[in-house]
Symmetry: D2
């Protein structure tokens, strides 16, 4: 039984961490922080946890947490994370950071898309927490940079084909659609029910901060610098991301080759499910689970492949993947506590 | 490890049974039937089960199932159930019937609201499967009549106050609202997305077939004949029922008395959660779980109590309660396999 | 062509007023205020109005508005309205007030449910703006207190039966369900998409401030003091209220009598549509229109009538009714500019 | 006042035609057909029309319609349309056909994507009913092939840039998302509320029958053969399409050039609204209206332009555009009866 803490437990990601930890047999939640709701039980803030989680939220900094948790999940905004993560690490506390602060290897790139980095010396030791790509490194690190939700869906979808050289990495376009929980629990007009329901829109077209993260990982896979078009859209659903990724196929690559490449790449992956050829994933089929469902279509008319990749943004796109990383760090079975069957309908 | 079968596995209730069985450590699904989808894997019909459940659906009658399952869940329409349940029982197979066929003790009442009963001799041995009221009887029976979704929410909400004589049973009004999964997976215009979304309506006002079932149980609790007004409504959500129940309070009954009565009644119940006074349940806080959340308001202006009761209609209102009954019949811990934390948001 | 102003144009009610005014042939919007968005075009705040309404929002008080509008709609919170309405009236400007400040005839009752009233001397001259009940008075007044959304649906549903003495007014229970636009456009967690979507809940049970307004009008109709149970619920839809109203029928009242009473009462009403017996209204059938659809069920088992009443809370429940009142005050045809056909699906 | 008929009035498109005709001052609906609902009033099938449209649906063929309507809207499936349209034309009746049967100029292409064409001799006289491109031809024709919903959004979005030669037509990718009304009112499992709500998926990837229609029109605009990638997705909303279109920009084309090209192209178009640079359209801002809202983003990192185009699929994508075409054919003002302000929220 290890002790874990959640820094930032009053957002949807924090709540999902708490929810998943309740079903994990080897983990105990010993501290959970929230500035806004300090002094209140987490089940008052999230009544779905009523009777299940009685921990009282605290307005606590690293100093007050260190010693009470073996591992902390930092579910705070970028910039806040880079200030507190080094303190946890210095005290021997492992960290799975759910912010963007340690995802970008290059401090210059980070600065260009976010702002100056206050702890660039930690970038080298941080491991990008996509277990399907970096399992061995994650097992040995003390600092996991948990991937963004959009990047998780896009990278898992495109990785096998890029790695195998089946597509022209210069032609990648990722058209992604996310549920509204991705916007967090902050009270803002743009996230109100009446603004989102029965509607659909794109936002931050070509400017979303997940772009450099996606490009970094695709570049590593392609072994060359990759620039992509990435357009996020807001779906009137709570949970789920579907990414539709387009790329030109190399000459002679057919559907069978693509299928076998995916099968080979994900043969041993518990959380990636491949859709039979001719069928496609849907966000409602991964709801509440840590699965990433992937399908594809080879279109001979255009010599393009269209990749469809679906995750629950709060699970595989955030808290579930964070627990998967924790399992690796702690030496637990990778899927321990993560076997919830997708909730449909 | 017991072997179970699902008769009628291609509806939402059947799928939910399959989903819950996957998380139950002592149960194995050995047979699942569907006329429409015979020959196809259940995961083709419900892709959320992809990679998790590979059982092939069969167009099988009782004869072909007997011997392959220790217990069967009959998730078929009323009238169909009464034809097949006796065959299972005769063969020594336990049955949890999710239809209405064995819920009404009085064959005359059944005939009035449904049609003539072909197996009235089984009504006496069938136990109404609301564990919070009939736990001991359920443990000893071979035939559980799993309660309807609306009745579960209304009876659990009203039982403590009726039993304690705090309300005038002649004044009960139940205004219930259900998610659309309650209408099943049949292809009908009234259940189409465009007919239901962004809308709300009542249906079968004063005529819904769950009425006699509710009245039967409330009458037993009141020890007198109870007639209620019951109005079902259709919510633009997939899962969840909220029932708002009104009744006149007996003289001198105050909020504290009501609260202590609930606490006393449900003190040992794992699946009933009482909301702190001043707060109310919501369907989104029980989603995917076997909980029934109950809150109330004593209104001195009108001398009425308003009871709010929320369940997930597919879990506590159907498949979850069926597994809870199975657990009781089989001598498992009552909550085995039923500890999913509600999924929010 | 008359000139009108909207005080408080950045909420959903303000926007709906602006939207409806665009389709009204005899009205010109000359001033629209918003503190938060002053200096911006209304079409920047509500892009659905792009290219149609170019008015720039102002942070303007009554002094700056007087002289520029013949009639103002005050779509501001209660308490704010009572401060500004007298100034408009004093300057000869007609007012349709959409707040609660002038709806309650008795300042003592108002104070009990809201707070002290700063302009009680105007209560006597204010006319409750439900044209179906007060058409003649509205035509002659300078101050209309536009009804609340819940009261509109409940009063229109119950009025004919109360007025005709067919029901026992002491037994009325109103169970209402409202779309989320009723909560306004304020950025608050409880109105976020993820908190409301795929969910349902009651709120302010027995304590909602529309209660005294409903009771006042039902009391006038019954010619005796009426106290009701009123429970509002929050629907995961943007627009629409459905009220389900229960009452005991007087001896001997049957379905035919109820039907003919409704028909008689609403024979000449353009905005009330009666559902054929056996059918019920739905919010999606009045969406975007000024209709109130009413249906009922006489239940001989319980001697109760169940009344179903549906409106679009932003139209007949707010802005549409405000324009209907304006039409009466200004001598236009009552339905001028209000003939939009409900938008379905 | 002209007389019009709707062939196929029980689907969502048929209903929308009836709804819009009600607000059109120069048109009278004299006949409406439905096999399934023959003998019933249209307002029984679509209760939103209660009290507004009393026409009785008939199971009538062309022979029974001819002479009773000056113009018919054929809102029937493809293949059915090609059988009846020639009969109307032969009788001197004008036709706006909302099926796909007369959209494809080349019978061979039609046969490849649909099936053999039984009336290819009419393809040459049919005019593709996109008024923004073919206004003059439409005015003179007797047969308008009303465009598909996806094509309308994509073609209007891309036309100015293709026509001006600003993009490489060989690089066009159209990622489109449609509300569920696009799937029609047929009772099928895939359109059920529980299958669609809180979910998102792609379908018919690279195989949707609107592909050749889009390619035909883009080819004409580009004056060369254009092949595109087109991926439709199903949104959990009732109305609305948003298309996200990607293309490589010609060297030296910047945001200002793109903006001025759009402004020039759509300068006189009443139903196309351009979003200010930096803002994007949303389906909820065109709901219920005949507008097509267009925005774009020039991304210098990738030398691509991303075009966002939003319509209400039932209005500009079907019935509204059909009335727009009717207005042109009949010599009415092009926007007569089509000035509804978008309904938001």
């Amino acid at each position: 039984m290890i002790k874990v803490g959640i820094v930032g437990a009053s957002g949807y990601t924090g709540e999902e961490l708490a929810r998943l930890i309740l079903s994990h047999p080897e983990v105990e939640l010993t501290v959970a922080t929230s500035r806004q709701f300090a002094g209140r039980k987490i089940s008052e803030v999230f009544p779905n946890l009523r009777g299940l989680a009685d921990i009282v939220l605290e307005d606590a900094g690293p100093e007050e947490i260190i010693g009470r948790a073996d591992l902390v999940f930092t579910a705070v905004p970028h910039q806040t994370a880079m200030d507190i993560v080094p303190k946890f690490l210095a005290a021997g506390c492992k960290v799975v950071d759910l912010s963007a602060d340690f995802r970008i290897n290059d401090a210059g790139v980070y600065e260009k898309w976010y702002q100056a980095h206050s702890a660039p010396e930690y970038l080298a030791q941080a491991v990008y927490g996509l277990p399907e790509l970096y399992r061995d490194k994650i097992k040995k690190t003390s600092l996991v940079a948990n991937p963004g939700c959009y990047p998780t869906s896009i990278i898992l979808g495109a990785a096998p084909l890029i790695k195998a050289g089946l597509i022209d990495a210069a032609t990648i376009i990722a058209d992604s659609k996310s549920g509204t929980s991705g916007a967090g629990r902050a009270a803002q007009v743009g996230s109100l029910f009446c603004e989102v329901a029965d509607g659909f829109r794109a936002y931050k077209v070509g400017e979303h901060r997940h772009t450099p993260e996606i490009e970094q990982e695709l570049s590593i896979l392609a072994d060359r610098e990759v620039t992509i078009s990435f357009t996020p859209h807001l779906l009137p659903i709570s949970r789920g991301i579907l990414s539709t990724v387009y790329a030109k196929l190399r000459d002679g690559v057919d559907s069978a080759k693509v299928a076998s490449t995916y099968e080979e790449f994900y043969r041993h992956e518990k959380f990636v499910r491949l859709c039979p050829v001719g069928t496609y994933p849907a966000t409602q089929y991964v709801r509440g689970s840590n699965f990433c469902d992937i399908g594809f279509k080879v279109d001979p008319r255009t010599s393009r492949v269209v990749i469809l990749s679906a995750i629950d943004n709060l699970v595989k796109g955030a808290a579930g993947q964070a627990l998967q990383n924790m399992n690796l760090i702690c030496g637990f079975a990778e899927d321990l506590g993560l076997n919830a069957v997708p909730l449909f309908p």
